[in-house]
């Protein structure tokens, strides 16, 4: 019957994933991932967070299809400036007669761009510095940690200002500035984890097989640091978004007419009292996405870091 | 027969986890007078959980049920928290395995003993201090005054365990539960600690429950032995009759240990009969 096989299939797949005797590397890995997913999805807020992040990604990918108007070309400057939210313009229009909804949607691309690039730049640096420092110890540790301290001493926004002053404003420079100030905490986390496992028997065992230091660090230390780092990076993303928005607000990040949310809030502040939607809508977008990343990060921490779980 | 010190009937400890319910203890029954009872089992047999259930120390999400769980006539299952607190440390004490983890690392040994004493006896600080020093002497500390002022990390494992015993016996309890008290100690130090425990228990006429994985040790120290497997008691016998053990698990457990006396090669291994876990 048509119904029966369908009912069996999920059970079959689940059983395959949960099998205590996996038959291949992939089955074992997928099985672990599945268990992690089940633990994660038991937390409703974490799923909400994940949903928001997925929504952000979808908005960014399908911006062309979703946004009804162009984000940069304005309408009639005489009649369509600063219109309140309505059926034609869901979020209203700004002072250049541009549809705010479309701008917010296209702005998601910039936000995602910033967040992903910062994560991709800062995380490997932090991971490398932290694990090498923690594993080798001695003067390598001292030197690397003092360098880390130097970068930690800079407040993000101030460093970004300095960068931009030196290199000129623009989203790329903003990203570099944020990435440079983001990696130190990751290095600290990676180093702390490394110190904890450095003297473990399993590390001693692989040393006794003649493994080289790079092999030990990449194959044995890094996999154990990844969980903490993923959690930290996810939680940091909210801060990164806010910093990018702050730079945009100051006119140092994305330049007009790019629909960067922070820059949108900046233009909106002139009209805050009577045309609140110009600043409020992009502000709301920043809030929702930051919240989404925070919830996701919390959920991941409960799953990946058993010690911190409630 | 006089009222037993401890009356346990059909004790069950269940842990309700998201993935299902785990029954750590499945219907343990025994009575204890002022004697020494050993509970022996391997890891997962439920012996530690039995000890903790008696004291009401089962960690959540554990659930303890029993047909009867009474100490000196007091029903432990329905007793109020207040009553349980008075009993714990006062009339029933517990010595645990590793003094590194069971002693408070930020208080001196003397302070901890004083705290234990004052929790159950209305005594002034001087009286409590004298009591503490007397206890440290009773556990044969070479320089009680000095040890009094030391922190747990400053003393060796054996001394820490003796300090733990001092702390647990300062209130003169009627029953002492010792959960693997010598497993974390060196063999010669273990013997010293056991000797002290032996003397104190005999002197004070206390009841003792000795929980351990070491069948040989328990049978040489206690009067009666309960052998636990998969949450149940599979055998109960007098320590001196250990050689006549009936249950195949007990026999297997005894025979699988290498000894200095005979050279059995290969060592007989336990064939776990699933019927034992039923």
């Amino acid at each position: 019957m048509a119904g029966a096989p369908l009912a069996e299939q999920p059970a079959g797949l689940r059983a395959w994933l949960l099998s205590p005797e996996p038959h291949s590397r992939w089955q074992a890995r997928l099985g672990r991932f599945y268990l992690g997913w089940r633990a994660f999805s038991r937390n409703p807020l974490a799923v909400v967070g994940l949903g928001i992040v997925i929504l952000l990604i979808l908005l960014a990918i399908f911006a062309d299809v979703i946004a009804p108007y162009s984000p940069v070309a304005g309408g009639d400057l005489r009649t369509q400036r600063l219109l309140p939210p309505s059926e034609t313009f869901w979020f209203g229009t700004d002072d250049q007669a541009r549809d705010i909804f479309s701008r917010v949607v296209y702005g998601s691309r910039i936000t995602l761009f910033v967040v992903v690039l910062v994560a991709l730049i800062a995380t490997p640096i932090g991971l490398l510095v932290g694990t090498v420092s923690g594993y080798l110890g001695g003067w390598v540790d001292t030197v690397l940690m003092r360098i880390t301290d130097i970068f930690l001493a800079f407040p993000r926004l101030v460093l970004a200002l300095a960068f931009v002053a030196a290199l000129g404003p623009g989203i790329e420079n903003a990203i570099i500035a944020i990435a440079i100030t983001s990696w130190p905490p990751y290095a600290r986390i990676a180093r702390a984890e490394t110190l904890m496992i450095r003297n473990s028997d399993f590390i001693a065992a692989v040393k006794l097989q003649g493994a080289s230091t790079p092999r030990i660090i990449m194959g044995h230390v890094v996999p154990l640091c990844i969980s903490s780092l993923i959690v930290r990076v996810t939680l940091d993303m909210a801060g990164i978004i806010l910093t990018a928005a702050g730079l945009g607000f100051l006119g140092l990040g994305a330049q007009p007419p790019m629909p960067e949310w922070g820059a949108m809030v900046a233009t909106g502040r002139n009209y805050l009292i009577d045309q609140w939607w110009v600043a409020a809508m992009p502000g709301l977008a920043i809030f929702v996405v930051s919240l989404g990343f925070n919830l996701l990060g919390d959920g991941l921490r409960d799953v990946l870091d058993p010690k911190a779980a409630k | 027969m006089t009222k037993p010190l401890l009356d346990v009937e059909d004790l069950r400890v269940r842990f309700h986890l998201r993935t299902g319910t785990v029954e750590a203890v499945r219907g343990v029954s025994f009575q204890l007078g002022r004697e020494r009872l050993g509970i022996v089992g391997e890891s997962g047999s439920g012996k530690s959980q039995t000890g903790r259930a008696i004291l009401g120390l089962t960690p959540p999400p554990g659930e303890v049920t029993a047909k009867r769980l009474a100490f000196d006539g007091i029903d432990l299952l329905t007793a109020s928290n207040r009553t349980l607190r008075t009993l714990r440390g006062g009339r029933i004490s517990m010595v645990m395995q590793d003094p590194k983890y069971s002693l408070n690392p930020v208080m001196t040994i003397g302070e901890q003993i004083i705290e234990a004493y004052q929790a159950h006896a209305k005594a002034g600080r001087n009286e409590a201090r004298d009591k503490a020093l007397a206890m440290l002497e009773a556990v044969k500390m070479r320089d009680p005054g000095r040890v009094f002022a030391l922190y747990p990390h400053e003393v060796s494992g054996g001394m820490g365990q003796r300090a733990m015993i001092a702390m647990m016996l300062v209130t003169d309890p009627d029953l002492l539960i010792a959960d693997e008290p010598t497993s974390a100690l060196d063999v010669t130090v273990s013997m010293e600690v056991l000797r002290i425990l032996d003397e104190l228990v005999t002197e004070r006429g206390m009841g003792l429950i000795f929980i351990s994985h070491d069948l040989k040790l328990v049978s040489s120290f206690c009067d009666r032995v309960l052998v636990m497997y998969a949450g149940r008691v599979v055998e109960e016998l007098e320590a001196k009759n250990l050689r006549e053990a009936q249950h195949p698990y007990t026999q297997g457990l005894m025979r699988c240990l290498p000894t200095l006396v005979d050279d059995v090669r290969p060592l007989p291994t336990l064939n776990r009969d699933p019927a034992w876990a039923l």
């Binding site: 205590p20 005797e21 996996p22 038959h23 291949s24 590397r25 089955q27 074992a28 672990r32 473990s200 028997d201 399993f202 001693a204 065992a205 692989v206 040393k207 006794l208 097989q209 003649g210 493994a211 092999r215 194959g219 044995h220 996999p223 154990l224 | 391997e42 890891s43 494992g157 060196d186 063999v187 010669t188 130090v189 273990s190 013997m191 000797r195 032996d198 003397e199 005999t202 994985h213 069948l215 040989k216 040790l217 049978s219 040489s220 120290f221 297997g252 457990l253 699988c256 240990l257 290498p258 200095l260 005979d262 050279d263 090669r265 290969p266 060592l267 007989p268 291994t269 336990l270 776990r272």
Partner: protein, 260 residues
Amino acid sequence: MLDIQNLQVVYGTGRLRVDAVKDVSFHVEQGAAYGLVGESGSGKSTVLRAICGLAPVSGGRVLVDGKEVTTPRTKAFYRTVQMVFQDPYASLHPRHTVDRTLSEPLAIHGEKNDAETRILQALREVGLGPSFRFRYPHQLSGGQRQRIAIARALILRPKVLLLDEPTSALDASVQAEILNLLDDLRRKLGLTYILVSHDLAVVAHLCERLLVMRHGEAVEETTAEALRSGAASNEYTQSLIQASQGYSRASKQPATALAG
């Protein structure tokens, strides 16, 4: 096969100096099993670590197969000498499957050709079937983990196996299985063992000769025979033997014995 001459291991300097091993010497023939017995702080584990390079050799010499070891040890050394650790819960990488754990030594030494066959053979040798190949450590019991640790140590076909309290963390029944396995493997593969333990009975079971250590020094070198027959030995050794027999009230004054 293995020669330890006046070994000295010192950690730290000045006020924090610890002489973990002070002038220990012994010799182990090929195919023999030699035991190091002592309590905590005796330095027995440190001797093992010094042999394989995990602890510094501050004095004396370590010779394997007649050749003195170099610091750092060579890959050839690691193909000759391997170690099994005490805690089965700590000696396997928690994120690696059994397959990864067993294939790593082969990969490091460039012997990847017949990796699959060798892994399956290694599992068979320690009494585990191929179904264990892709499990993670948390899916294995203590005894199974220790078997994997032994398989890992043997996959490179070493000649010498250093065993650091391999059964202390295991239940008695599991210990018997692992001891039988170790005994078996020594005979089958012609291995040389150095076994460290605090348990005299375990050492007497597996080894022919043994060294009793205390506070970093060698107290007495004797044989399992001598232990069993109760031949006159050093006082400390006697106290260890007595302690291993279990608690005995008879050693106390008669009054207490009668009351008991």
